[in-house]
Structures are given as structure tokens and as C-alpha cells.
């Protein structure tokens, strides 16, 4: 069921049908909304990179929405870094809390203003539906922002939570999921300067049908927001591939991002925090908080919470508009400072997907906690790597003369083809070497070889002689019937040739295979 859903969503992605990448959009938004704070961080930390992407958005936004009734100052203000928001993950600090609350207050006021202006305009002129829509959209976005900020603020009260947003509060995650509001709006509201100290929590979050409301809002503004996103990312045409589902079962061979040469600034850089990366689940039940890897599973789970979740609409995969445009090119940064995948690195190479981030972080910066149960030596930090290894562990080792081992023959042959003078090592090569160097001492080993190699009874399988005992050949007496069998002494002299040249022990195998060995070593 799960995989079926995943696959269908994938195919729809490829076909870019009307259903196109709703799930992926969800995850995408989930990622963006979820990593809201880090997003902010990146915006402020690398203004040169993120602002070019964002400022056009504000241009559009302000011209269409704010100009009629609002001041220019807001637009100017957006570029001013807000110190209080710069560091949202620091330990609880009353100052920060205060600024957060004041921000919230201001935000709510803004929303109120917009709604007011909408209602007044509605009474005056009936036309301008597009304007109304745009305003609705803005309201939606602002509300989302408020909710997230609120929860974030509340979460930071808990001392153990360093990053309250994702790991501590599943509701937010899911909220952002279902809201599906574009990232740009969230960030834009976050950047508003805060001045008011009154903290008012909007009661809208408490209404039970909030989600439905949001959904409806969302659906009406979807097209608009996508258009805005398009403006936001004018140079993202080539990199507009849909971001795969986070919990897709594809195992990334490398950490992604290699080989694609996106010019810096042509993509948005997101940096997830360590906790987010290591969080096992990404979809959380709003009601009971249970986590899921897949949205589809969450929807199935939601049925248990009441009949309203059993409607086909609620169960159906949230569909995406056919006219939707691809998401902005987003790349990820590893939170580990000093890593090449960290955006601070001089030769920063971004990671392509969330999955890449997860695998990269686990492989590079985490303990290898999964040990292969067969060889007990190989350790892995990504369980998929362990599973891949276990498929091959214990198989024949392909050995090169240089001592390198390979799990596959073609890899060994590729290696041999590459390096001059390297040859594949046959399984018995080491024994041969010892036999040649320390002849007499290793006579035991050589005797074994007589049994196992030289007289390996080539036809034994076809002639099915039962239980052909190889050890028989080890025993030198085994050859005795050939040499000293008295029956033939009179009949013929067939053994005599052996004695004719018996001054040389080579000629007479039964006189001891070890003596042959010694001679061989001497010669």
C-alpha cells in the first residue's frame, strides 16, 4: 500500500499530470515550513545568496497588495536583519521570548488590517477579484506564520528542546503540511520587525475546522502562489526537477549534488538541524502526535480519529493544481560546520534532496551503529547500507595480487585492467608461495595439495563414484598398488621404467610426494 502510493506519486510527478507531485509538494512544503527557522538563518547569514531570490517576490507582493493602503517602510524594513530572530534556537531567553511575542502581536495586527481593508473594499467595489484573492492568500500566509511562530515560541519554553519547531511539536509540522502555504510568505512575515509588546494568541488556531478553512484558502490561492514562486525564482528553469519524496526508498549512492553545477545563488539553500535530520518520522498526527514516515500512512491513521477523516476528500491524496509551476530550486546544506556540504565551506557543494542530507549526515557525522551480523567487522550508520552489505557479505572474495579484495569479479577485473602487472590471485597462490620457499617444513601442506589440487579427480561428477575421499591421495600408501603390486611382476615390466630413472626422485611419485616438493624447490 505504502509503496504503491509512493510509486504512483512518483509516476505522476514524472508525467506532470494534474495530480502532479502533490505528495511531493506536501513534503516540500513540509520541509520548507518545517525548517522555517533554518531557512531564516540562511536568509540572513547569506544575504547575497538568498536575497536576490526573495526580493523580487517582495516587489510583486508590495506592488499588488501593500501599495493601496500601506506604507513603503515595510518594504524597506524587510532587509533589516532582526537580531532576535537570527538565533531562534538559543536557550530560553526572556528577551527573545518578548521579541517573539511582540512580533506575533504585530503580525496579528497586520492581518487584521488586511482583512479590514478587504471588507471595506468589498462594500465599495464589487470587482477586483484577483486583488481579493491575493489578499486572501496573504492572510493565509500570515496566519500560518503566526501559528508557527506561536508554537515555536511556546516550544522554546521547554528547556530540553533546542529546536522546538520540528522535533518537539508535531502539530506544527502537520499544520505546515496541510496549510501548504508557500515558503516565501512565511519568511516574509518572519522578517517583519517587531515593535509591539502585546502578546495575543490568535484563537483561530483553536477552532476545530481550522484545517478545513486553511485547506480551502490554500486551494483558492494555490495558483497565485505558484505564480509568485515563479517570479521569485526566475533563473530556476533548468533546475526545476521535482523534489522526490523524503521517505522514498531509493538509496543514494552518493550524497547527491555532485556533478550538477548550479551557479551559486540560483537556488535556495536550506539547512536542517541535526535533530531534524535524525528524526525518524516526518508526518505527525495532529491529535495524538503519533509520527509516520509517509503522509499516506498518516491519512490512514487519521481515520481512527473520527468520521470526518473518513471522507474520500480527506483520504484522497491532496491534489495539486494542473497549472502549478515547479517549486524553486532548493538545495540543502549540512549543519556540520567544516563539512564540504556545509554552506560555510569555501567549496560548498550543496546536497540535492532531504534524503541526501539524511544519508550524508548519518554517514559522515554520526556513529556507525549498525554492525554486520555476519562478519562483525563492517559497521554502518545508514541501515540501508548495512542491508546492501549483508547481501554480499560472506560471498567469495575476489583477490588481486596486490592484496586488494573485491566483492565482485567484474570489479576485480576492472582493477586488474587498470593497473599494470596486477593479476587476480588464485585461491591457492599463498600456499604455493610457502611451498616454494620453505619446502621441507611445509611438506604437510604440500601433501594436502597433492590431494586437493593435482589429483582432483576431474571426472568424479560424471562417473559418480560415491564419496570420493580426497584424503586418500594424501596417503602415500595409496599409490602403492601401482608400484609394488606383485601380480604384475611376472607379467610385464611396466613399473620398471619408473625405477630406471630412480636416481631422480621425480620419476617416482609414490616415494613420497614431499620429496618431489623438495626437489622442486631446489631446481
Amino acid at each position: 500500500m505504502e509503496s504503491g502510493l509512493g510509486r504512483s506519486s512518483e509516476t505522476s510527478l514524472k508525467a506532470s499530470s494534474s495530480m502532479a507531485s502533490n505528495t511531493s509538494r506536501n513534503t516540500d512544503l513540509d520541509q520548507q515550513g518545517g525548517h522555517f527557522n533554518s531557512m531564516d538563518q540562511s536568509c540572513f547569514a547569506r544575504p547575497s545568496q538568498s536575497f536576490p531570490a526573495f526580493s523580487p517576490l517582495f516587489g510583486v507582493q508590495s506592488s499588488s497588495l501593500y501599495l493601496p493602503d500601506d506604507n513603503e517602510a515595510k518594504i524597506g524594513n524587510q532587509f533589516e536583519p532582526n537580531p532576535s530572530l537570527n538565533n531562534p534556537t538559543v536557550d530560553w531567553d526572556p528577551q527573545v521570548m518578548l521579541s517573539n511575542l511582540s512580533f506575533l502581536e504585530q503580525k496579528i495586527k497586520q492581518v487584521k488590517d488586511i482583512v479590514q481593508s478587504m471588507s471595506s473594499r468589498e462594500s465599495q467595489v464589487a470587482g477586483g477579484s484577483s486583488e481579493v484573492q491575493a489578499k486572501q492568500q496573504l492572510v493565509t500566509a500570515d496566519l500560518t506564520c503566526i501559528i508557527i511562530q506561536l508554537i515555536s515560541t511556546a516550544g522554546s519554553l521547554l528547556p530540553s528542546m533546542k529546536n522546538p519547531l520540528l522535533s518537539s511539536n508535531p502539530a506544527v509540522r502537520h499544520l505546515s503540511n496541510t496549510l501548504g502555504s508557500p515558503m516565501a510568505f512565511g519568511s516574509s512575515c518572519n522578517q517583519r520587525p517587531s515593535s509591539n509588546n502585546d502578546a495575543t494568541i490568535p484563537d483561530i488556531t483553536k477552532t476545530p475546522d481550522y484545517e478545513e478553512l486553511m485547506n480551502s484558502l490554500n486551494s483558492t490561492t494555490q495558483g497565485e502562489s505558484d505564480e509568485l514562486m515563479k517570479c521569485q525564482n526566475p533563473c530556476g528553469g533548468e533546475g526545476s526537477e521535482p523534489i522526490p519524496m523524503e521517505d522514498h526508498d531509493v538509496k543514494e549512492s552518493d550524497d547527491g549534488g555532485e556533478g550538477e553545477n548550479l551557479p551559486p545563488g540560483s537556488y535556495v539553500v536550506l539547512q536542517l538541524e541535526k535533530e531534524e535530520i535524525l528524526a525518524p518520522h516526518t508526518h505527525f498526527c495532529l491529535i495524538c502526535g503519533k509520527g509516520f514516515k509517509r503522509d499516506a500512512n498518516l491519512r490512514m491513521h487519521m481515520r481512527g480519529h473520527g468520521d470526518e477523516y473518513k471522507t474520500p476528500a480527506a483520504l484522497a491524496k491532496p491534489s495539486k493544481d494542473s497549472s502549478s509551476e515547479p517549486a524553486p530550486v532548493t538545495r540543502y546544506s549540512c549543519p556540520y560546520v567544516g563539512c564540504k556540504r556545509n554552506k560555510e565551506h569555501r567549496k560548498f557543494q550543496p546536497l540535492k534532496t532531504i534524503l541526501c542530507v539524511k544519508n550524508h549526515y548519518k554517514r559522515s557525522h554520526c556513529d556507525k551503529s549498525y554492525t554486520c551480523s555476519r562478519c562483525n567487522t563492517k559497521k554502518f550508520s545508514v541501515i540501508a547500507d548495512l542491508k546492501t552489505h549483508e547481501k554480499h557479505c560472506g560471498r567469495d572474495k575476489w583477490l588481486c595480487s596486490c592484496g586488494t579484495t573485491f566483492s565482485r569479479k567484474d570489479k576485480l577485473f576492472g582493477h586488474v585492467a587498470l593497473f599494470q602487472g596486477h593479476t587476480p590471485a588464485l585461491p591457492m597462490d599463498d600456499v604455493k608461495v610457502t611451498g616454494a620457499s620453505e619446502q621441507s617444513q611445509d611438506s604437510e601442506a604440500m601433501n594436502n595439495m597433492v590431494g586437493s589440487i593435482v589429483y582432483n579427480f576431474p571426472g568424479s561428477s560424471s562417473d559418480d563414484i560415491p564419496n570420493l575421499d580426497m584424503k586418500m591421495a594424501d596417503d602415500t600408501r595409496y599409490f602403492s598398488p601401482l608400484c609394488i603390486d606383485p601380480c604384475f611382476g611376472g607379467l610385464d615390466d611396466f613399473t620398471r621404467p619408473g625405477f630406471d630413472i630412480s636416481e631422480n626422485p621425480f620419476s617416482f611419485l609414490p616415494s613420497g610426494s614431499c620429496s618431489f616438493e623438495q626437489q622442486n624447490g631446489d631446481s
Binding site: 577485473f413 585492467a417 602487472g421 604384475f488 611396466f494 611419485l509 622442486n520
Partner: protein, 656 residues
């Protein structure tokens, strides 16, 4: 010439005055090994000269090997393929005492007893080794091949039917011997695309490659196409190779001269056409038993090879007269064409083919049932140079057609008339071909002593004669043959049941005879066998199956005289354990014995006889009932020495 030299050498003193160098020059001009032997037997000077000059040596027994290697220090070619009971120990011992610095080529074909230690010693002793033949050493595997790989100067290697060789062994060879020019991997079924890929990367000098019967696919051909000097490629019965592979092959350098895709049943004429596109200097193309129809594109492309193509084999293909005409017009320089078992070959087709191909020397028309004398007439008229004509089962031809051939084609060396119902008159005409070497008359029951008398009187060079089931042939024919055709090496008299001991008595004068098949000659006895064994010193193979009158006396004679006998069939003969024991213990070269339904031999007889010959036997055919009663120890011993036993299970039926 030989007698002259012999007489001269026999004088002694005169020859001894000549320098070794001159004597060596003389010996070089003595072609026949027998004559050379006579020279060195009668004159010490010649013996010394030969010792100093001899380049090639073929050893038949293991015992004299050390002495021989010491005697001939200038040896370059050493053939141990027929050396009975050669094993690691004896080979290493022989090599230890000799100076083999000059040895370049060693043949160890079918030397099942030689393993990696013997090969190690061989390679170490022969620093200039250039060619090694390990074909049919079925027990040879990666270790043996790895031992050979130590010969870094190796240029030629045959691993045909070395069943144990895998990619690993091949990798050893290609890394160890980068100068390899000729390699046969035929029947090495364990080798895969990976190995072939490595081969083509590591051995750029390769000129000839045989990958017949391998399970490799098109990827191998992709790798092979990178071999820039490859001239000869055989891929018989490679069923994983198809047209796409040939397409890949055609992308390589335009160097191929000979391609064999026979019995590769996924190859079609399309693939061959694209192959010709890429390689337009092809000289030999063997597409026997792989094509189902003749594509137009293939025909057009064949015409592109007009200048170069000399050998074309299309066995088993449906060909019409127009196709043959197109081939004839397109490929004027054909020297050899094979249309064996081709449906639709008619007189008309043959005449339009040969009309333009006047250089044809070998024409194989086996089982082209529609052909009549007209076809032979047109061949005779156009192809004066023809040397080999295979007409088996062309039952509509008669003496008239053969008369034309005999008149017009004086170079005829080989003709196969098996099952053609020719008569004595035809043989009378054929007798005009005095160059005839091979004559096959199997199943021609109307051939009689009279016809063979014509042959005997004129075809003195004959080396092979097949009279299988020529039931009219009697002792008189053998008398005539023994008189006229002294050079005969191979003679098949199976089921010519009028032949008796006196006939075999005549055969005794054929000193060159090596292969003699006397199957189901119920009248011959030990006396006849004795005269053959005494007279035919070179006898290597003898088939006495169902010669019901042969008893121990025959075996005693063989044991006493047929010292070179290597292959013997005595199934259904009335021999006893004693005779068998004596035979097997005496004949040092005997390697292959078929002894099914020797109902007079006891289990103990078999046991003792086999023990006596244990180290020498390489192939045995026996009743499967014996498997359980012979001691397992003996069977293990046989296998340990590289002997393969074929157990058969068939009822005892006496046929006449």
C-alpha cells in the same frame, strides 16, 4: 633418395669425413622421418649431425624422454602430446637434466597427467617459450594456466577444452603474456564476457582468437572490436551472440580476414552483412549451419568482397540457383565453397556458380541430392584446378560425370563418393587422377576388386581409402592395394565381410599404415591380426569391434609387435583376461581402449589388466555393470591419472 643416403651412410668412413654442418644440411633434405631414422641408425656421423641439428622432437614414451632431451640440445619444438603416461614427476625429472634454452614450442595436447607443477617446471626450464598447446587437457584449470602464464614471451596458446579454466585463469594469462598473438579458448565454458574484456584490454597484439562454444555474448564482441590487429576470429556455436554483436564487431578496425560464425544460431544474414560493412578485406567466411535464409543485403555485401574472399561456407542454407549465380558473379576469387546439405542446389545453380569461379579448388556438395552428371560436367569444364570434391550422397551422379572430372581435373587429390552408388567403371575413370590422396567409397556396394585394381595400379600416392561396407571387396583387392598403394596410412574395411586372414596378410606389407578399421570382419582370426601387427609397425589405431573370431592369439601378437598402438577397440571379441592383461601391460603407448562386452574376461581379469595400464590410459569404454564390481580404489587411481571412463549399457547382441 632415402635409399641412396642409407647406402652412403652405411659405408661409414666417407660420411664421417664430412662436417656436422654439411651432414645437417643433408638431413634437412631428407623428408621422411623413417629415412632419417635409417640414416642415424647406420651412421654415427649422421647420428651426431642429427643430435646437433635436430629442431623438432615428438616423443611417444615417457621413459626415454630425459635421454632424448639431453641428446638434442638444439630442439625448438617439443611434442609431448602422444607421450604415454607422462606426468608431473616424469616431466619435471626429464626437464631437470636437459638444456632447453632453445625450446620455443611445446605441445601438451591431451597430456592429462601433467598438472601445474609439471608446467611450472617446463616454463622455468624453457625461457624462450613462445607457443604452448594445452588443448584437450580436460583436467587443466586455472592453476595450470597460471603456471603457463609465467612464460612472459608467449605468443601462442591453445586452451581448447581445458574445462577447468575460468576468467581467473584467463586473466592470469593475459596479464602474464601481453605479447599473445594467437589464443584458443574453445570449449572453455567457464569464461565470460568479463574475461574476454580483460583479454582485449591486455593483449593488443592478438591476431587470432577462438571463442567457439563459449557462453559469451555481444559484450564480448564489443571488447573484441577494440583489438586492432585481429585477423582471425572463430565463434562457432556461440548462441549468445547475435546480429547486434556482429554490428558491434564491425565498428572495430578493418583488420579481420577470417570469421567463423558456424552454428551460432542467432546470427542472421543481416548481421553478416553489417559485419562485411565494417571488415571489407575478409578472406574466409564460415557461416555454416547458422543462416536460415539468404538476405539480399548479405548477397550485395558479399560482392563487395570480390577481390579478397576466397573461402565461403554456407552449409545448411536454402539456396536457389539465382543466389548461387549472384555468389558466382560477386566472388570471382573463391577457392573454396561449401554447400553441404544446402537445399535447392541444382545443376543449373552449380553451373552458374562455377562459370565465374574458375579458381575453385575445394567444392563441398555433400548431400546435394539434386545434382546429376551435368553439375560435374560444368565443374570439370570450369574448375580445372579442383583438388577436393565432396559428393557424399549425391546419388544421381554416375561414371559419366566422374569421367569428365577425371579428364579435366588432373590435380584432384581428394574425392568423397560415399553412398554415391558408383561402380567399377567410375573407378576406372578416376584412376586417371594419379595425384589422388584420399578416396572415400563407403557404402558403394557395387565397387569390387576390379575397380580397386584400377585404382591400385595408378594411384600410388593414395594415403586414405575408405571401403566401409563395400561388401563386394575381397582379399584380391587388398592384394592389389598392398602392391600399388604403399603409402596408405588410413584404411577402412569395416563390414567388408568377405575379407579373411589371407587378405590381412597382404595388408602386412603396408608399412605406413597407421589407422586400420576392421569392424565386423567375422572371418579374421589371430593369424590375420598377427600379420598386420608384424607388418604394420606404425599402427596407431586399430578397430576390431565385433571381429568374433579374434581371440587371445591376436592380442598376444598385438602385445608383442604393435608397439605404437595408441587406440584399440576390441569390443565383442572372444578374448580372455589373460590376453587382456598381457596386452594392456605390454603396450606402452596404448591410451584409449574400448572393451565393451568382453564376456570371456572375468572381473579379476579387468581389474588386473587395468591396474597394469593404470598410468597410461586416458580413455576407456566399458560396460556400466563393471563400475560396481571393479574396486573403487582402482577407479580412483585411474581418474587420478587423468583417465576418463565412459560407461555404456547396452545388451549383448551379435550382429553379422
Amino acid at each position: 633418395m632415402s635409399e641412396e643416403v642409407q647406402r652412403y651412410g652405411g659405408g661409414g668412413g666417407g660420411v664421417g669425413a664430412l662436417s656436422l654442418d654439411l651432414l645437417g644440411q643433408v638431413l634437412d633434405r631428407v623428408r621422411e622421418p623413417r629415412d632419417r631414422k635409417a640414416c642415424r641408425l647406420v651412421s654415427r656421423a649422421f647420428a651426431r649431425a642429427e643430435a646437433a641439428h635436430r629442431r623438432a622432437l615428438r616423443v611417444l614414451r615417457r621413459e626415454p624422454l630425459p635421454r632424448l632431451l639431453r641428446t638434442f640440445p638444439a630442439l625448438e619444438r617439443l611434442d609431448l602430446s602422444a607421450c604415454a603416461s607422462l606426468d608431473d614427476a616424469s616431466l619435471a625429472a626429464a626437464l631437470a637434466g636437459a638444456d632447453l634454452a632453445g625450446i620455443r614450442r611445446v605441445c601438451l595436447a591431451r597430456a592429462n597427467g601433467v598438472g601445474w607443477r609439471g608446467l611450472d617446471a617446463l616454463v622455468a626450464a624453457c625461457p624462450k617459450l613462445e607457443a604452448v598447446d594445452l588443448s584437450h587437457c580436460v583436467g587443466a584449470g586455472d592453476r595450470e594456466v597460471a603456471a603457463v602464464a609465467a612464460a612472459t614471451g608467449l605468443r601462442e596458446l591453445s586452451l581448447e577444452k581445458c574445462l577447468g579454466v575460468t576468467d581467473m585463469g584467463l586473466a592470469k594469462v593475459v596479464v602474464g603474456c601481453p605479447k599473445l598473438e594467437k589464443l584458443s579458448l574453445k570449449w572453455c565454458r567457464e569464461i565470460s564476457d568479463i574475461g574476454i574484456d580483460l583479454l582485449s584490454k591486455k593483449c593488443p597484439e592478438l591476431r587470432s582468437l577462438d571463442i567457439s562454444y563459449l557462453k559469451v555474448g555481444n559484450e564480448s564482441l564489443r571488447s573484441i572490436s577494440s583489438l586492432e590487429k585481429l585477423e582471425e576470429l572463430a565463434m562457432v556455436c556461440c548462441s549468445c551472440i547475435d546480429d547486434d554483436g556482429l554490428e558491434l564487431l564491425s565498428k572495430g578496425s578493418n583488420s579481420l580476414q577470417s570469421v567463423d560464425v558456424s552454428r551460432s544460431d542467432h546470427v542472421t544474414s543481416q548481421g553478416l552483412a553489417s559485419l562485411i560493412d565494417g571488415h571489407n578485406f575478409l578472406q574466409k567466411l564460415n557461416a555454416a549451419d547458422c543462416l536460415h535464409e539468404m538476405g539480399q543485403r548479405f548477397l550485395t555485401n558479399l560482392a563487395k568482397l570480390k577481390e579478397t574472399l576466397t573461402v565461403l561456407r554456407l552449409d545448411g542454407l536454402e539456396v536457389s540457383a539465382s543466389v548461387l549465380q549472384a555468389i558466382g558473379e560477386g566472388c570471382n576469387n573463391l577457392v573454396e565453397i561449401s554447400l553441404s546439405k544446402c537445399n535447392g542446389v541444382t545443376d543449373e545453380g552449380i553451373s552458374s556458380l562455377v562459370a565465374r569461379c574458375s579458381h575453385l579448388r575445394v567444392i563441398d556438395l555433400t548431400c546435394c541430392h539434386l545434382l546429376t552428371d551435368n553439375a560435374l560436367d560444368s565443374i570439370a569444364e570450369n574448375c580445372k584446378m579442383v583438388e577436393c570434391l565432396r559428393l557424399e550422397s549425391c546419388s544421381s551422379i554416375s561414371e559419366k560425370g566422374l569421367e569428365q572430372i577425371a579428364i579435366c581435373c588432373p590435380n584432384l587429390k581428394e574425392i568423397d563418393l560415399t553412398d554415391c552408388r558408383v561402380n567399377d567403371a567410375a573407378l576406372q575413370h578416376l584412376a586417371k587422377c594419379s595425384e589422388l590422396l584420399i578416396l572415400k567409397l563407403g557404402l558403394c556396394s557395387s565397387v569390387s576388386d576390379k575397380g580397386l585394381a584400377f585404382i591400385s595400379s595408378n594411384c600410388g600416392k593414395l594415403i586414405e581409402l575408405d571401403l566401409y561396407r563395400c561388401t563386394s571387396v575381397t582379399n584380391d583387392a587388398l592384394a592389389a592395394l598392398a602392391n600399388g598403394c604403399k603409402k596408405i596410412k588410413m584404411l577402412n574395411l569395416c563390414y567388408c565381410n568377405k575379407i579373411t586372414d589371407s587378405g590381412l596378410g597382404h595388408l602386412g606389407s603396408l608399412e605406413e599404415l597407421t589407422n586400420l578399421e576392421l569392424r565386423c570382419l567375422v572371418r579374421i582370426t589371430g593369424i590375420g591380426i598377427s600379420s598386420v601387427a608384424i607388418g604394420c609397425k606404425n599402427l596407431i589405431e586399430l578397430d576390431l569391434k565385433r571381429c568374433y573370431s579374434i581371440d587371445d592369439a591376436g592380442l598376444w601378437a598385438l602385445a608383442r609387435y604393435a608397439l605404437n598402438l595408441r587406440q584399440l577397440t576390441i569390443s565383442y571379441c572372444q578374448v580372455t583376461g589373460l590376453g587382456l592383461c598381457h596386452l594392456l601391460s605390454s603396450l606402452r603407448c596404448l591410451q584409449d581402449v574400448k572393451m565393451v562386452h568382453l564376456s570371456w574376461v572375468s572381473i579379476e581379469g579387468f581389474e588386473m589388466a587395468l591396474r597394469a595400464a593404470c598410468g597410461r590410459l586416458k580413455k576407456l569404454k566399458m560396460l556400466s555393470g563393471l563400475k560396481s564390481v571393479l574396486s573403487p580404489e582402482l577407479l580412483q587411481l585411474l581418474q587420478a591419472f587423468g583417465c576418463r571412463i565412459r560407461w555404456v549399457n547396452k545388451p549383448l547382441v551379435y550382429k553379422d
